[in-house]
Symmetry: C2
Subunit: 193 residues, 2 copies
DNA sequence: ACATGAACAGACAGGTCTGTCTACTCTTAC
DNA sequence: GTAAGAGTAGACAGACCTGTCTGTTCATGT
């Protein structure tokens, strides 16, 4: 019963501020000073805890991955058939996209702002590998004729919905993606026969 | 016969350098000094010609739009049937993606690095509006049952291929998108009947 | 009572960025 | 010859950024 009544630790407050500011305005645009000011934390605490800004950004992305993974996993487990589970990924995306403050994929944004070869690219690869394998696994379970191809195409739809939903400020992008995913899935499983 | 033998003007050299450096490393990461050094141009010439960095970035994006528009339009005009024309957009994307130095959509990257409400967002909106109308028009000509929906879904595939092709360094992303587009198109036109 | 460790406030160094400014050079037209 | 316009080189100001460092406060365990 330490973390329930006590105020959050410096690390937790830093991560929460980083999540808010980095996602809203970009990891490059937001400086260290703004993060620590928003978190109410001394600069020395940040550098004692994380060592560098890049590692703070890395921790921010890992946190994003954890919440996204949990959200999608929960949506999948709430469905019973593979087909419904596959579409649930897009339902989860649509719900995330409807929330105020949606600004697209945090990994795509951070990658666009960061040099290749750093921790950002590393975290992005980890996240995308997980997502891709998820789609391929679901496509396999759903009985797709070519699970690798269908999984890839589903990820393209997912990426496109994230990108377009952000650039066009269109909260319905994920719904169009879901409809396309449904059509591709039906084609690939031959469910119209 | 002025521009054939004479060396390019400061404006042209600046735009060419901006196109190369901004696209490769990002509009925020590359400073003014690097652009003028690469162009072999004095800093005063840049500010006399463009007025600010933001306007240079804007001009760079307009140049990107012009070349992309020309490339896609040429690919379309080389085909005769609406169906082939629609798929030619993805062929053109695949060819662009195979070229060395491909780094995804310049507008998406620049948007991720820029504050909303500026010239970058404005240029991005213009480009995306053109692309979207192109897809909807081609879907209409191809006889789609719901051209607005199909056009949107094709754009999602296009965006996803650009994003995934960049983040995963996968030059075949546009080919998977093309195959998905073909399937959606056939479904939407009822060509299997 | 007191030591210890975590967090605080904030000054500071060293670097980078945009944008301005001065002074010089070159070409071309008349 | 010379005036005008375009371009060049580079110093400079002012702001901002990351990361380091000093000194202080405060809760907790012994």
């Amino acid at each position: 019963m330490a973390s329930s009544t006590t105020k959050p630790s410096a690390r937790e407050r830093l991560l929460e501020s980083a999540n808010e500011l980095f996602y809203r305005e970009g990891v490059q645009s937001v400086g260290i000073d703004r993060v620590i000011e928003h978190a109410g934390v001394a600069k020395a605490s940040l550098y004692n805890t994380f060592g560098s800004k890049e590692e703070l950004v890395h921790a921010y992305l890992l946190g994003r991955q954890a919440t996204t993974t949990a959200r999608i996993t929960a949506a999948i487990e709430a469905r019973s058939t593979p087909r419904a589970q596959l579409l649930a990924v897009f339902d989860s995306q649509a719900e995330s996209q409807r929330r105020p403050g949606f600004r697209g994929c945090a990994f795509a944004a951070a990658s666009a702002e960061s040099k290749p070869g750093g921790l950002v690219e590393q975290a992005t690869q980890g996240y995308r590998t997980w997502l891709r394998e998820l789609f391929v696994d679901l496509a396999t379970l759903a009985g797709a004729h070519d699970p690798a191809l269908l999984g890839r195409q589903l990820q393209l739809l997912y990426d496109g919905a994230a990108s377009a939903g952000n650039l066009d400020h269109d909260p319905a992008a994920a719904l169009s993606a879901r409809a396309a995913a449904e059509a591709l899935l039906d084609l690939s499983t031959g469910s119209d026969r």
